[in-house]
C-alpha cells in the first residue's frame, strides 16, 4: 500500500512492531461516558449497607459416608502423567473417566484415560491403552483387557454412537481421537471414519508412539469431548475441545520467545512449565455423525467464526430451553464459550452477551470444568464453572435473558478461591431435593507448595450445599477415607450409581495416582427423607422417518418431575436433562438421578423428547428405577 505523505506527518519507527501486533488504532481512545446529571449518589450510599453475600456458613457434617473404597473394590487404576516435577504442560492435565454399560447387563462399568511416564517415553513408544473395569453390579470391579490402543489418552465420551442400542466410547488424546465401538461387551477401535485426519491430510496431527516424527509439528491435542445431537437427526455428533500446540520433540522450557524479549515461564515468581499462555491454542472441532460410527468434520459450517481458546472442558445442556442442545466450553485463560444451537447444529457463541464468558470483573479465567443443574429449582438450567487457584468456581443461575452470576452473592468466591478445581458436578447426593456442588481439586504446579503461593499442589476436594440464594455451606464428612478428607491432586469426576442402590456415587481421577471410588452412603437429612428416583430415557424402538428424532440413548431429553408433597408443604419441581458430557475430560451416567426428599411418590413426570414429542407419565412411587422409551412410556420399573 502506498503511504501518503503530508507536511504534518511525522516519521515514526515501530521499533518492536508492537502497535500492529496489538491491533490498536491510532484513533484517540474512547473517553468514558459522562456521569448522568441525575446520578443516584445518595441511593447508592444509603442502600449499599443492605447488600447480599457474606462468608460461607459453618460446615455441615451429615450422617453417613462418602468414603473412597477403590482399593477394596478392585478399582486399581492409577494415573501416569509424566515426571513428577512436571517439565511440560502435557503432564499436568491428567486423564478423565467414563461410565458405560458394557455387555448391556444393566450396571455401569468404568473406563479411564491414561498418560505415560514422560514425553520422551511416549515418543519412544509404546503408548498407553484406555483402561477398562467391569462392574459386577455391586460396585466390585475387575480389570478387563483394554481396546489395545497406544497413545496418551485424555478425555472420554460414552454414548450410543452407532445407534445399535449399546454404549460406545470415544477416546481423546494428545495426537489422536478414536472411536471404540462396543461389540458383544467389548470395545473395539474403529478407525478411518472421519474422526481424525490421516497423515496425508494433516501431516503431524496424529502422534504415533514409537514412530519417526518431523520436528516443528504439534499433534492435535483433544481434551474434553461431548457427544450430542446437534442437528436433531437422531445420530450423535461430537464436539472436540482442543488445547494447544506442543511440539513433542521440542517442548518449550524456561522461557517463551527469544533474546532480550523472551518471557520467563513463571507463576508468582516461581519457574514453572510453559503454557498455556504464550503457546498457540488449537481450534475446537465439530464432527457430524453420519450413522454407523462415521463422522464428517463440519467445523467450518457449525462453528463459524470460532476463535481457538485452549479448551479444557465441554458440556452440553439446553441453555435457552428451546429443545435443542447447546454447549458450554470452558477455556483455559481466555473467554469461555456459550454455544447456542441455531436448531440445525450451527453454533453461535453468545458467552459475552450471556454473561458467562468472563468473571464479574470482566477477566477471563482458566476454565477447567463445567457442570449443569437447576440449583434454584426455577425450571432453568444453572451452571458451575471451575477455575484456577485465585479464581473461584463460578456459579451462574439461568435468567430470563442470559445468566445471573451468583458466585459472590452466595459466598462461593471465598469458599473456593484458593482451590484449583477441575472436575465439577451438580448432583443431589443426599436426596433432599437440592443439588450439591462437588469440585475435584489439585494444582497444576508442584511449585504450589512453595511459600507464599496461597495454595498447594495436593488439595482436598470440595463439596457444598447450594440452595438458591442462600450462602453455600461446606459439607465435611468424617473419616480419613472420606472424599472431603483426602488430600489429592484430583482431575476428572464422574457421577453414576455404581452399586445399584439408586444413590449416585462419585469416581474421581487424580494426577499420578489412584482413582477414587466414593460410594454414596449419606443418610437422609430428615426423618422420612431420602427418597429417590432414577430415570433412563431411551429413543423410540424404530426411529422416526424424518427429523427431528430422539437419539437411541435418549440424549438431550428433558424431564420435569413433580414430587407429591405432603399437604401444607410447598410444591416444587425438579429438572433433569439426559447428558453425559460435563465435569472435566469425563463422561457421567446417562441416568437421571432425582432426590425427592420426604416425598415417597411423584405427582407427575413430563418428558420432552428431542423429537419434539411430549409425554406425561402419571403419578407413581419413588425409590425405583424407571426406564422410559419414547412413545411407549415406562417400559421397565425396578426397585433396588
Amino acid at each position: 500500500m502506498r503511504r501518503s505523505p503530508s507536511r504534518t506527518r511525522w516519521a515514526s519507527l515501530g521499533a518492536l512492531g508492537l502497535l500492529a501486533a496489538l491491533g490498536c488504532s491510532d484513533e484517540p481512545s474512547e473517553a468514558p461516558p459522562e456521569i448522568p446529571a441525575e446520578r443516584i449518589v445518595h441511593a447508592i450510599a444509603e442502600e449499599a449497607r443492605s447488600l447480599p453475600g457474606g462468608p460461607s456458613a459453618e460446615p455441615d457434617r451429615p450422617a453417613g459416608s462418602l468414603d473412597d473404597v477403590a482399593a477394596e473394590r478392585g478399582l486399581d487404576y492409577a494415573n501416569r502423567s509424566g515426571e513428577p516435577h512436571k517439565p511440560t504442560i502435557l503432564g499436568s492435565n491428567g486423564a478423565g473417566a467414563a461410565v458405560l454399560d458394557l455387555g448391556t447387563d444393566g450396571d455401569l462399568d468404568l473406563a479411564f484415560g491414561q498418560g505415560g511416564e514422560s514425553l520422551e517415553a511416549l515418543m519412544a513408544g509404546p503408548g498407553a491403552d484406555v483402561e477398562v473395569f467391569e462392574n459386577d453390579g455391586a460396585a466390585r470391579f475387575s480389570r478387563r483387557s483394554g481396546p489395545g490402543l497406544s497413545g496418551w489418552w485424555t478425555g472420554l465420551a460414552a454414548g450410543d454412537v452407532d445407534g445399535d442400542g449399546d454404549a460406545d466410547l470415544v477416546a481423546a488424546g494428545y495426537g489422536n481421537l478414536v472411536l471404540l465401538e462396543q461389540d458383544g461387551g467389548v470395545l473395539l477401535p474403529r478407525e478411518g471414519r472421519g474422526l481424525f485426519p490421516s497423515d496425508e491430510e494433516v501431516p503431524g496431527a496424529r502422534l504415533t508412539p514409537g514412530a519417526e516424527r518431523e520436528p516443528g509439528r504439534a499433534p492435535w491435542w483433544a481434551t474434553s469431548l461431548a457427544l450430542f445431537d446437534g442437528d436433531r437427526d437422531g445420530t450423535l455428533d461430537l464436539y472436540v475441545g482442543q488445547y494447544l500446540e506442543l511440539d513433542p520433540l521440542a517442548p518449550p522450557s524456561g522461557a517463551l520467545g527469544e533474546g532480550a524479549l523472551d518471557l520467563p515461564c513463571t507463576w508468582k515468581g516461581l519457574e514453572v512449565f510453559c503454557g498455556p499462555r504464550g503457546l498457540v491454542p488449537q481450534p475446537d472441532r465439530v464432527l457430524r455423525g453420519l450413522g454407523r460410527g462415521s463422522f464428517e468434520d463440519v467445523s467450518a459450517r457449525w462453528l463459524p467464526d470460532h476463535v481457538a481458546g485452549y479448551a479444557l472442558a465441554v458440556g452440553t445442556f439446553d441453555a435457552d430451553g428451546d429443545g435443542d442442545t447447546d454447549l458450554y466450553v470452558a477455556n483455559d485463560s481466555v473467554p469461555n464459550l456459550m454455544l447456542v444451537n441455531q436448531g440445525d447444529g450451527r453454533l453461535s457463541d453468545v458467552g459475552l452477551q450471556a454473561g458467562v464468558a468472563l468473571n464479574q470483573d470482566g477477566v477471563a479465567q482458566a476454565g477447567m470444568g463445567v457442570a449443569f443443574g437447576d440449583v434454584d429449582r426455577d425450571g432453568k438450567q444453572d451452571l458451575a464453572v471451575t477455575n484456577f487457584s485465585g479464581e473461584p468456581t463460578e456459579l451462574y443461575f439461568g435468567a430470563e435473558v442470559g445468566f445471573r452470576p451468583r458466585t459472590h452473592a452466595v459466598g462461593l468466591g471465598q469458599a473456593t478461591r484458593r482451590m484449583l478445581s477441575w472436575g465439577v458436578n451438580l448432583v443431589d447426593l443426599d436426596a433432599d431435593g437440592e443439588l450439591e456442588l462437588f469440585t475435584a481439586n489439585g494444582h497444576v504446579y508442584p511449585q504450589a507448595d512453595e511459600p507464599y503461593t496461597g495454595t498447594s499442589y495436593a488439595q482436598r476436594d470440595g463439596l457444598w450445599r447450594v440452595s438458591g440464594d442462600a450462602p453455600v455451606r461446606p459439607i465435611e464428612l468424617p473419616g480419613e477415607r472420606s472424599l472431603t478428607s483426602l488430600v489429592l491432586g484430583s482431575r476428572g469426576s464422574v457421577v453414576a450409581d455404581l452399586d445399584g442402590d439408586l444413590a449416585p456415587d462419585l469416581v474421581v481421577t487424580t494426577i499420578d495416582g489412584p482413582a477414587v471410588l466414593a460410594l454414596n452412603r449419606l443418610a437422609p437429612r430428615s426423618p422420612g427423607g431420602g427418597h429417590r428416583l432414577a430415570i433412563r430415557c431411551l429413543g423410540p424402538e424404530s426411529p422416526a422417518e424424518s427429523a427431528p428424532r430422539t437419539p437411541a440413548d435418549g440424549r438431550g431429553t428433558r424431564v420435569i418431575l413433580v414430587p407429591e408433597v405432603a399437604e401444607g408443604e410447598a410444591p416444587f419441581a425438579l429438572l433433569g436433562e439426559v447428558r453425559t458430557a460435563e465435569s472435566y475430560q469425563s463422561s457421567s451416567t446417562p441416568w437421571l438421578h432425582f432426590g425427592l426428599g420426604r416425598c415417597a411418590r411423584y405427582e407427575r413426570i413430563t418428558i420432552l423428547w428431542p423429537s419434539g414429542r411430549r409425554e406425561d407419565l402419571p403419578a407413581g412411587a419413588a425409590d425405583r428405577r424407571l426406564v422410559v422409551r419414547e412413545g411407549l412410556g415406562i417400559v421397565s420399573e425396578e426397585e433396588p
Binding site: 521499533a15 481512545s29 468514558p32 452477551q353 468472563l358 470482566g362
Partner: protein, 354 residues
C-alpha cells in the same frame, strides 16, 4: 508560611521511602509475592513504617499468600497520618470483597449521608472501582456503571480500567444495548491487552536489566496510550543506561516532541543521528523542527540529505515538498516545481503553495 513549608517537608516521603514504595508497587503489579513479602517486611520495619500504601500492598500480598489474619491485622487503624490511613481502609474493603463480605466492604466505602460523591475517599480512584465491583456482585449493574464511570474519569489507565469498562458493558447489556456493550467490551479488551504488554515488557526488563530493547518496549507502551511524560521518563532512563543506543534517542526525541518540549526533541534527534546517520526518521523530524523554529537552512540541509538518500521512499516524500516550498520562497520556481513533481510522484497530495 514557614510552618506550612516545614509541615510539607515532613509529609514528603524521604527518597529511600519513595524508592521503596515504587519497588513494592512494581513487585505487586508483576505478581511476585515471595519477593514482595520479604522486601515489604524489611521496608515496613524501616523507611516505610509510616506508609499506609506500603502496608496496604504488603497486606494484599499476604492475603493472596494465604496469610489472611496477618493481612487483616496490618490493616487495623494504625498510628498513621490520616492521609495514610485511607490506604488501609481501601485495602480492607478490597480484601473483604475477596471474602465475599460485600456488606462490610460497602460499609467502609459508602459515603456518609449528605456527601456530594457516593464514595468515601472519592479522591482515590480505587474507592470507586471497589465500590463498583461490590454493586456488580450484588447484581446492580446500573449503580456499578455509575461508579465505574467515576473511576475511569480519575484513572483511565489503572490496572483495573478493564474492569470498569466491563462493568459499563454489563450495564449496557442489562438495558439491551448490545452495540454499546460490544464497544465497551472491546475497549476493556484493548486496555487489557495494553496492560498485559506493559507487564510483559517490565518482566523482560527485570529478566534482562542490561538489555535496551525491553526498556525501549516500556517507553513505546506508554507512547501507545499517549502518556508522553511517562514515555519520556522511560526513554531518558534507557538513554542514560545505553547512551550509544540510537533508537533510544530517537524515541526520546519523539516523546519530547509529543510532550511539547521541542528544544529537547531536536537535541535528542541530533544525538540519534550522531550515533546512526542512517536514522532517517530522526533526520526528517529534526528537519521539521528546524523548519518550525525558523532555522530554514538547517531544515533544508536535512531535507536535501533525505531527498538524496531516500528519494524514492514515500515515507519521506515530505522532504521533496518542503524543499519545493523552500525553493519557492527563495523565488526559484523551476527548481520548486521539479521537487514538487517528485513529491506528487511519490503519492503526495498537498498543494505546493500553502
Amino acid at each position: 508560611m514557614i510552618a506550612a513549608l516545614v509541615l510539607a517537608l515532613l509529609v514528603l516521603p524521604a527518597p529511600q521511602a519513595r524508592e521503596g514504595l515504587a519497588e513494592l508497587r512494581e513487585l505487586a503489579e508483576l505478581d511476585l509475592p515471595g519477593t514482595l513479602i520479604r522486601r515489604g517486611r524489611e521496608l515496613f520495619a524501616g523507611p516505610l513504617s509510616a506508609s499506609g500504601e506500603a502496608r496496604a500492598i504488603l497486606a494484599r500480598a499476604l492475603f493472596a499468600a494465604g496469610e489472611e489474619d496477618e493481612a487483616l491485622a496490618l490493616l487495623e487503624p494504625a498510628d498513621l497520618a490520616p492521609t495514610e490511613r485511607v490506604w488501609l481502609e481501601l485495602e480492607r474493603a478490597r480484601l473483604l470483597i475477596d471474602r465475599d463480605e460485600l456488606s462490610a466492604a460497602a460499609e467502609i466505602l459508602a459515603a456518609p449521608k449528605g456527601s456530594e460523591e457516593p464514595v468515601r475517599h472519592a479522591d482515590h480512584p480505587d474507592a470507586w472501582i471497589l465500590f463498583a465491583r461490590i454493586e456488580a456482585r450484588a447484581g446492580r449493574p446500573n449503580r456499578a456503571a455509575i461508579l465505574a464511570r467515576g473511576f475511569l474519569e480519575r484513572a483511565a489507565l489503572h490496572p483495573e480500567a478493564p474492569v470498569a469498562w466491563h462493568l459499563l458493558a454489563q450495564e449496557a447489556l442489562a438495558r439491551r444495548d448490545g452495540e454499546t456493550a460490544a464497544r465497551y467490551l472491546e475497549r476493556a479488551a484493548e486496555i487489557g491487552r495494553w496492560l498485559e504488554l506493559l507487564r510483559a515488557r517490565r518482566l523482560q526488563v527485570l529478566r534482562h536489566p542490561d538489555q535496551p530493547l525491553p526498556r525501549l518496549g516500556v517507553g513505546l507502551a506508554w507512547m501507545q496510550v499517549g502518556e508522553h511524560s511517562r514515555a519520556r521518563e522511560a526513554f531518558r532512563d534507557l538513554c542514560s543506561r545505553h547512551p550509544g543506543f540510537a533508537r533510544g534517542w530517537y524515541h526520546l526525541g519523539e516523546a519530547n516532541r509529543l510532550a511539547g518540549d521541542l528544544v529537547r526533541a531536536r537535541e535528542s534527534y541530533a544525538t540519534a543521528l550522531g550515533l546512526d546517520a542512517s536514522m532517517h526518521q530522526a533526520r526528517f523530524n529534526g528537519a521539521l523542527l528546524d523548519l518550525l523554529a525558523g532555522r530554514t537552512e538547517a531544515a533544508r540541509a536535512g531535507f536535501e540529505h533525505l531527498a538524496d538518500v531516500v528519494q524514492d521512499d514515500p515515507l519521506y516524500a515530505g522532504a521533496h515538498l518542503h524543499l519545493a516550498r523552500l525553493d519557492l520562497a527563495r523565488g526559484n520556481r523551476e527548481r520548486a516545481l521539479t521537487q514538487y513533481s517528485r513529491y506528487r510522484a511519490l503519492g503526495g497530495t498537498e498543494p505546493l503553495e500553502e
